[in-house]
Amino acid sequence: MAEVENIVAETAERIFADLADAQTVNRDKKGGWKTPLWRALTESGLPLAWVAEDCGGSGASLAEGFSVLSAAGRFALAVPLAETMLAGWLLSQAKIASPDGAMTVAPAGPRDRITVGADGTLSGRARGVPFAGDAGHIAVLAQASGGVSIALVDGSACRIEPGLNLGGDGSDTVTFSSVTPAAIKPAPQGFDQTSLLLMGAVARSLQIAGALESMLDISVRYSNERVAFEKKISKFQAVQHNLARLAGESAAAIAAATSAADTFASGAASDDAAFLEAASAKIRCSEAAEKGAAIAHQVHGAIGFTIEHILHRYSLRALAWRDDFGSESYWAVELGKRVAARGADELWPLVASR
């Protein structure tokens, strides 16, 4: 488990450990854990970590917020913390104050478009919006004729068709039919849907990497407890090598995700470099989720396939998070196009610049 780097992440980690323990959450079929958890998170200012104090937030740095997301991934957190943080961050880009309560962001994928009509209302459909049904408000990135706008919308003003992602968390279709936003302002120069998706991709990469850390941890622990053929299964070389591969996938995810987060937190990279970092993180973490989840399940055998066991909380969420803010296939195509457009002899200089 990574060391906790700062007080914000330390606070988050403590709340998760107290109120979002995987075992407790998994046993509580009625979801009674959610209210006290969200209350504690709100009291410590975490959902609006990326919102400046004068906009109602707690003004944490990007780096601090990113380490909260890593911790959230390690706990396979199933409340809209990442989404509210991203929404607060998006609204802050246009200096729109954040309301209290849970939020989410739309669109959450590259193929959806929300547009601003001549009358200033929003129209369009966004699919796979995480936790839209649980969110009081939605931070929206919308295309206006004169450029890109950022808007705050009351969730009840939209039509929300509920859906679930692989992990059983809300992943809903949100339809905007001439919705009047609670606030709307132009996005800063150069900020567009890709900017939002890249930030979302970094967030999901950190969460996937965190979940992989936990999958490695519980798989190693289980292999040291479970006895088969008269010895601990951790003593079988085939199992050892599978776990070594899981460690490798976990390590690759951590490296890719923290590198991208560091790039965004320091804010000094060129467009191409930031794109390389965030796209690579989402691609590599998604690949690691596939390979890593398969190994974690293989090590656990049938018990890990049961709903009673906690493994699925991590494995299915890591797999689900691949789909949000652009899948690995999407980012790979976009990254490949950029690399090709730059030309063969510019590939290495780009990679080496990081």
Binding site: Q237, I254, A255, R284, G343, A352, R354
Partner: protein
């Protein structure tokens, strides 16, 4: 909780930017002068002694070593930049690479002062080539099964036995080898091996080339018949090589050479597909670039930990495991993606030749310098499984 795997987002410091420019300019000059062809990895480049000397003259060998021994007291991260630029350019580094990465540091740590003062400055000037004498006909990954014997005699040792798969032994001036000075003990099967500095001009050493499936003759069999090693060529503790061999491995296992060996086919693929590839090709390239970038970030992170005086043995083993599997698969993935390229692409023949060579090279990448199986065993130990 399982021991933490650390891959902090280390960035190369600003002094590396200027250095990288210098290395690129130097390599461009060498290419222009015809020293080597960057598009042609398949060549016998073992004999580039003048190039080695010019690299030494630039101060890019023994970069991290004390000035007293001809070194330059620069950081591991600066050395990293030089290594990766040379590798990506396909520069002929074989003559100096082992000495610079591995043999020099061993001498620095274990050789008597006289030998350090004699040999290290020559490594830094690019004048000497080193080989590593580990494997034997019946001991490869199982290093501690080595049988080649060092028998005590007046003023030194007599060596008898055979080393094998010894890269560059045919051009090497020296070898750092392990020989058996005592039998293993019941308690410690790793006991009884001693590290030696071998002068390859010593009478009683015969080097026999071994052909490889690539068509190259890069590795050798080295036969020792009563070859005399003076006492001061013992490196470190008699019978204690096992304590010395393992801590060096983090340096050996995590460098850019562990994932860039076949990189050239990716560059050539991007050239062949042109500026606007179809979706299939774009996705394939995007994934490979994401994987490459991630590998490099992991590798730089380990270099940063080494620079900070840590011993990230497990992290380094992970880098080599993932990196070598990646560079092994790379030519096959590139072949897939090149299946539909324009048959008239100007570099088609270059790419095909490179692929043929890279695919033949690929099997060795997960064997040399610690097999995948050995690495995964080390990682498993780090995870607390053994």
């Amino acid at each position: 909780m399982t021991a933490a795997l650390r891959f902090d987002p280390i960035r190369l410091p600003s002094e590396c930017v200027e250095l990288r420019k210098q290395v690129r300019a130097f390599l461009a000059e060498e290419i222009a002068a015809g020293t080597f062809d960057p598009h042609q990895p398949n060549r016998e480049d073992t004999d580039a002694p003048e190039f080695s000397r010019r690299v030494g003259a630039r101060g890019w060998l023994g970069m991290t070593w004390p000035k007293k021994y001809g070194g330059h007291e620069r950081s591991f991260l600066e050395r990293y930049v030089v290594t990766e630029e040379m590798r990506v350019a396909n520069a002929p580094t074989r003559r100096f690479f082992v000495a610079d990465r591995q043999s020099g540091p061993v001498l620095l740590k274990y050789a008597p002062e006289r030998i350090k003062l004699d040999i290290l400055p020559r490594i830094c000037r690019g004048e000497v080539c080193f080989a590593i004498g580990m494997s034997e006909p019946n001991s490869g990954s199982d290093l501690f099964a080595a049988k080649t014997k060092a028998t005590k005699t007046d003023g030194g040792f007599l060596i008898n036995g055979t080393k094998i798969w010894t890269s560059s032994a045919h051009i090497a001036d020296y070898m750092i080898a392990i020989f058996r000075t005592s039998p293993p003990t019941k308690e410690n099967r790793r006991h009884g091996l001693t590290q030696f500095l071998v002068d390859m001009k010593t009478p009683g050493i015969k080097v026999n080339p071994i052909g490889q499936i690539t068509g190259q003759f890069e590795f050798n069999e080295v036969v020792f018949t009563d070859a005399f090693m003076p006492d001061d060529h013992v490196l470190g503790e008699i019978d204690g090589a096992w304590k010395q061999a393992t801590s060096e491995l983090a340096y050996e296992r995590s460098g850019p050479e562990r994932f860039l060996e076949t990189y050239y086919v990716l560059t050539e693929l991007v050239r062949a597909v042109g500026p606007a590839p179809d979706t299939r090709t774009a996705e394939g390239i995007g994934r490979l670039v994401a994987q490459l970038h991630t590998m490099r970030r992991m590798s730089v992170s380990v270099a940063g930990m080494l620079q900070a005086g840590k011993e990230p043995v497990v992290e380094a083993s992970i880098v080599k495991d993932i990196g070598t599997v990646w560079e092994q698969e790379l030519p096959h993935r590139v072949r897939d993606l090149a299946a539909f390229i324009d048959t008239e692409a100007t570099n088609r023949e270059t790419l095909e030749n490179q692929l043929a060579f890279a695919i033949k090279t690929a099997p060795k990448l997960t064997i040399q310098g610690g097999t995948t199986e050995v690495l995964r065993g080390i990682i498993a130990r780090g995870l607390g499984l053994r």
